[in-house]
């Protein structure tokens, strides 16, 4: 389980990083990086203002 970031949609605001319970996300200038601690919980996908994140199984 992980999360896919649509970089063409993402506005690199970092909201997803703030809600990630695992600290699996990082905002690096203009893109989001996801590390292997992601559990695919989907909280980031829920709160993304533009819907740029999708949980992948």
């Amino acid at each position: 389980m992980s999360v896919n970031v649509n970089r063409y949609k993402c506005g690199y605001c970092g909201a997803c990083v703030g809600v990630c319970p695992e600290g699996a996300l990082e905002l690096v200038e203009t893109w989001i990086e996801v590390d292997n601690t992601c559990t695919g919980c989907g909280i980031c996908a829920k709160i993304c203002p533009v819907g740029a994140l999708v949980v992948v199984k």
Partner: protein, 392 residues
């Protein structure tokens, strides 16, 4: 860049820059780092700020004031308008900022006070020796280096990692964040009041704002509660709002962002570590405003750093004074705001209309927010009963 400093501030937003400036003015060796290559950009904010709260820290400058606003108009779901702070001399009147210029002006002040500034420099982890925080690992232009310091300040915003690395839980639950989208629109005449549209039709668990930005432009944005996001998105709701209510508007910029609305979190300092601003979740849960709270906290944090250096003690024992100070001031205010927010998000559109109608014939035009809330409470004790403790 040196190998060691007294203080490293991570993040050059308003909170970070004021912390760095305060430290530098107190004679400390301070490094201010910003992960972006440009300070102040991209903006993630509605740019509204109260005039007097701002003036405590910096003299207003037309280079970064996009517009002056006379007050606020609240718009209920049925269109009823409630106008506040009509008097331009009212301390609650404010500005719409140009954050891109404003943030740089603050960083410039820090630099002129003696702080070193590094951009395109991202903290990647905390350095530790015998469990004690001794600085950060930072990446600049693709290369990582160690930078030592006695105190690390996490002013790294909603996406803060510094606190987490230091063992402080700053995770926001969906109900603790407003997820926001905003357009800078042109070809409109927004008047000289900030407008706030309330109700589930506009913004579930939040509001739509229209902040005049001068020259026929305005920031038109929306915040919705994270717990109500998913099936609907901030971006699509604000697009719909603009399509319906300002079809002539032309969108010249898109801004997105997340605003902490958790109220005070349990811990904001640990040994050798202080959190400031959005990283410390110090933004106001009711209005979403965070700029002046972050600046106030930054000044408090800077002063504690100076004290810590004098004592040669960087442990929680000394730094806790920062925590006590901000809780007694900012903390009190945002706790109250949290209570009001928690009630507001439960109210139906019908009840919001009822609140707006209850003010018929009441002159609220010169009231600041606390006085306004009291007037509202007196008219609607039943509906607002759970707020009674606020008015004791």
């Amino acid at each position: 860049m040196k190998e060691r400093y007294d203080v490293i501030v991570v993040g050059a937003g308003p909170g970070g820059s004021i912390t760095a400036k305060t430290c530098a003015q107190g004679g400390l060796d301070v490094l201010l780092i910003e992960k972006r290559q440009e300070i102040g950009d991209p903006v993630r904010c509605a740019e509204g700020v109260g005039r007097d709260a701002l003036k405590k820290h910096i003299a207003p400058d037309k280079r970064w004031i996009a517009a002056e606003v006379k007050g606020s108009v609240l718009i209920a779901p049925d269109g009823t308008q409630v106008k506040m702070s009509e008097d331009a001399s009212n301390p609650k009147a404010g500005y719409t900022l140009e954050r891109k210029v404003f943030d740089r002006a603050l960083a410039q002040q820090a630099a002129m006070a003696g702080a070193e500034v590094m951009v395109k420099t991202r903290a990647t982890e905390l350095l530790r020796s015998n469990g004690k925080i001794t600085g950060i690992k930072a990446m600049y232009m693709g290369e990582t280096r160690d930078i030592k310091a006695d105190i690390v300040i996490g002013a790294d915003g909603v996406e803060s990692k510094v606190g987490r690395w230091g063992g402080i839980n700053t995770v926001l639950k969906p109900v603790d964040i407003e997820t926001c989208a905003q357009f800078l629109v042109s070809n409109i005449d927004p008047g000289d009041y900030s407008k706030f549209y309330l109700g589930s039709n506009y913004a579930p668990g939040g509001y739509v704002w229209v902040f005049p930005k001068g020259e026929h432009t305005a920031n038109v944005g929306i915040g919705i509660l994270g717990s109500r996001s998913g099936d609907v998105r901030a971006i699509s709701l604000i697009q719909r709002f603009v399509d319906i209510y300002m079809p002539q508007a032309k969108i010249v910029e898109i801004v997105v962002g997340g605003v902490p609305v958790s109220g005070p979190i349990k811990q904001t300092v640990s040994d050798g570590l202080i959190l400031v601003g959005d990283a410390a979740r110090q933004s106001d849960p009711l209005t979403g405003g965070g700029i002046t709270n972050a600046m106030d906290a930054g000044e408090m944090a800077g002063n504690i750093c100076i004290k810590a250096k004098e004592k040669g003690d960087y442990s929680v024992k000394t730094l806790k004074e920062y925590e006590d100070k901000w809780r007694a001031t900012i903390g009190k205010e945002i706790s109250k705001s949290l209570q009001v927010k928690n009630l507001l998000i439960k109210l139906s559109d019908e009840q919001l209309n009822q609140l707006a109608h209850s003010l018929d014939g009441v002159d609220v035009s010169k009231m600041a927010l606390p006085v306004f809330l009291l007037a509202l409470f007196k008219k609607n004790p039943k509906l607002l009963w759970e707020l009674r403790e606020l008015f004791k």
